[in-house]
Amino acid sequence: MFRLALVLLMGRSRVLRVVLSAALGLVAGACIFHSVRVEAIGSNADSLAIQTPVKAHLRDGSTVLYQVGVLLARDTLRGPGVRYGLTLRDSTAVSVVPLDSVVAMESFRRATNGATTAIVSTFATGTGLLAAGLLAFVIVCSNSDCFGNCPTVYADSAGTSALQAEGFSYTLGPAFETRDVDRLGIRADGDGRIRLEVRNDALETEYVNHLELLEAHHTADETVLPDANGAALAVRDLLPATTIADASGRDLRLLLALPDGAAFRTDARTLAEASPAHLDDAIYVVAPAPPGGDSVALVLRLKNSLLATLLYSEVILGNRGARSLDWVGRDLDGGAPALARWQEQRMGMRIAIWDGRRYRQTARIRDSGPHAWSDVAVLIPVLQRDSVRVRLSFPADNWRIDRIAFAMRARRPVVRTLDFGQLLDAKGRRDSTALESVRLADQRYLRTSPGERFTVVAEVGTAAAEPARTFLIATQGYYEPWIGHDGLRAARDTGAVESLDADLLKALRKWGTVREARETAFADLGKLTVR
């Protein structure tokens, strides 16, 4: 290797030029690092289509190799396989194997090394795939199965679990691992501890890379919120906006004045009139400029509707049916940067400021998930003497917004990072291995399956009277949804892949017809899952 490097450095050969040119290509484009991931396939999967090699180990010691994948259909394995005897001296072709004769199975697939890819890609493109946070993995799930999107964080509140946050939403695959920061509405208990329960309430495998508690010190009249990049912002002197109106002209001031659960949703007419040229809705907000101040903070309380869930699970992946596996394995590699760019431009919420001539984008809020309300503050520079005019634009009906206000004062508070000192499994037993997996953002992940939960505990000490303190949780990871049998049945291979804008339009049209039913079902599901 050293000799090769020496030759490349010293020589003026064609090889040198090609290699240097390739290096230039790496810098200009995105490079993706892979490894082969071997994973056991659980017997709890109902139906599963796998299009990568699979080995099934039978009770009698024989092995069946499915080189092009296999369909697990309820009680049988179906697909072209070769069965090898215990000693491998004989082999026969098989197409159907009863599941009750199988004692173990594993799949082999190409996995993206998220950290390495992210480092190189971020260096190369300056934007980073992680921040975009989305691409689907292996999913064709049924409608109801797709409601969950990420780990949910709960804290004890007067004897009941209160939902605090949901982490790394829409990060469907390792290449899109990202870090989220959410405000926690809790205080330390009498022993100076913070206890948080992290649940996998969805039909997915979640990979938690890092959990971190952040403690922000501030004065009693300040509220600490994460900004769009996850950095803490202490805000005070909150004022309601003088104008809040959406694209259809509705006056939203009363609806969005207080955080009361009564939330904005896109006007039905705007949603129905979505077209290739009009995929967005917008909210226009105006506040008086603070005397002498050069910035204010826009304070938002919001969460996603189920539109993004429908877009990714039912349109982008669902239309590919069984091909979604291949798409993820192959096209994802080439298409990930394009999808990331599309998301940056199209999804989430874009915040723009009127400078007297036009709106200039100043920030973008990532999609945060449909479960937990997210409180966010965005610093807004004051560009005009008399007023601050802000436009929030987003795919029609992508957001539920509970509150919009302006903070006349904002500053960066001192933030202390605290490690979780204990991780307890569902039975309350300490698990030091799992704790090590989430202590650092590294190659170790804590993997959870549907229904699993764990508790993390941090010693934060009892609070002094002043200054006040607010806790935030940082979660980093990704998840891989499971395949539900309803989804497999409903999936269809469409062959040609349309543009992502066309996919969004398709999702908007479908969403317009199902949103009432879906939101009602989702609300009912929420009542069931909050324990």
Partner: protein, 131 residues
């Protein structure tokens, strides 16, 4: 010569992929377990196929002989296309899980399977490497 410089942008356009591929990963393409190279504490080396991973030992097929290699008898153990190596102590849980998944019998060897395997290789007993 100028054409050489084309390769960079071409790479950028098609995307660059580095690292392991499933079609080159031996356990994904055949029924065998991963290849293993062992250096024994008492001297000597052995190569073979990883049959099973147990709590205290590896079961290896080396020179057509089913062999039990206690971790304590190992100086080092390396596995083809698998990151990490053994150094005289049982593998950490995560490493053991990964090794098990690329062995020929991830489910473990039952007494009946082991008996049939020994019979197939003409052994009356399992060969055990001394510590």
């Amino acid at each position: 010569m100028r054409r050489c410089w084309v390769w960079g942008p071409v790479l950028a356009l098609v995307g660059c992929h580095m690292g392991g591929r499933v079609d080159r990963f031996a356990p994904a393409n055949g029924p065998e377990g991963v290849a293993v190279a062992l250096e024994l504490r008492r001297g000597g080396r052995a190569q073979g196929e990883l049959l099973a991973v147990q709590d205290t030992a590896l079961v290896v097929l080396a020179q057509d002989t089913v062999t039990l290699v206690p971790y304590g008898a190992l100086e080092t153990g390396e596995f083809s296309q698998v990151e990490g190596e053994l150094r005289g102590t049982p593998p950490a849980p995560d490493f053991a899980r990964r090794l098990r998944l690329v062995s020929r019998f991830p489910q473990g060897l039952t007494p009946d399977m082991l008996a049939r395997l020994l019979a197939a290789y003409g052994q009356s007993a399992l060969k055990v490497v001394a510590r």
